[in-house]
Amino acid sequence: MMDSEGLEKKIEELKLKEENGNVQTQAQGQLQIITFSELINDVSLHFQIIRFPKQIYVWIGYNTAKLGHMYAAATTRPNNMVSVTSILGGVSDNTGSGIAHRLVLKTGLNVILSCSIPKNSPMIETEAEKILIRKLISLGYTKSRLGATSL
């Protein structure tokens, strides 16, 4: 049995413990991760989209869950032209760099794109880009016609 004063003391002790100890309340993440797959000509294309407040990360998988080549793309000063650079995977195969470029144009955000589509598959690349853009529009991640970035 505990009187109210004793109970108050216990609650205070608990609060202190929580502050001093490493009790971490782990909240569910705020960032949305969208994943989906589509079958195109016997090939499974997998998509992962992570929308950050000022950036977007996209992964396109070709049948497997390999990371593939990674590109960073953004508008650069002084005239807001889009620049794309390869950050992982070497420079001899630039499958996906075009997609990264056009994603910046469509979303107005910085883009990090990982793409494991093999080289010399322009049809798959085009199809993947179409599917991706369609999905981004449906999620509201693309710029509206008036030029503002929708959130």
């Binding site: 993440g29 797959s37 589509e38 950050f52 998988g61 390999k66 910085n110």
Partner: protein, 126 residues
């Protein structure tokens, strides 16, 4: 044919949570690909600096690791130290996969980086 996301069908496994680290709300995402791990820790609304860390199979018993910045700040040794700790933990857990680590942090103090490392280690099932 549109196969919408059902976690059992999608080939990636991923984990998404947030944690307070030194007073800053930190979003952490851990994504497991076939051939890499991707860890994103952000406090600033972007992915920030990206690092690549991998284990090098050498002749000696102790593995060596190669950590480099692939995008972003190249003059922050604490970020490299963070990647180094994580790749070593990954290796000790038995995985030889390289790690892509993305850190978008408000400060690069040792306390913050330690917080990131422990948050990732506590929640990962490499």
């Amino acid at each position: 044919m549109n196969i919408d996301n059902s976690t059992s069908l999608f080939p990636l496994s991923q984990l998404n949570f947030s944690r307070q680290i030194k007073g800053n709300e930190t979003e952490i995402i851990i994504s497991r690909y076939d051939d890499h791990f991707l860890v994103i820790a952000t406090q600033i609304g972007t992915m920030g600096t990206m690092l690549y860390a991998r284990k090098e199979e050498g002749v000696s018993i102790n593995p060596t690791f190669n950590v480099s910045v692939i995008f972003g700040k190249r003059d922050e040794p604490m970020l490299i130290a963070c990647a180094r700790q994580l790749i070593e933990h990954l290796s000790l857990s038995g995985s030889s996969r390289p790690l892509v680590l993305s850190l978008g942090l408000k400060d690069h103090s040792a306390e913050t980086l330690k917080g990131i490392v422990s948050a990732v280690i506590d929640n990962s099932t490499w």
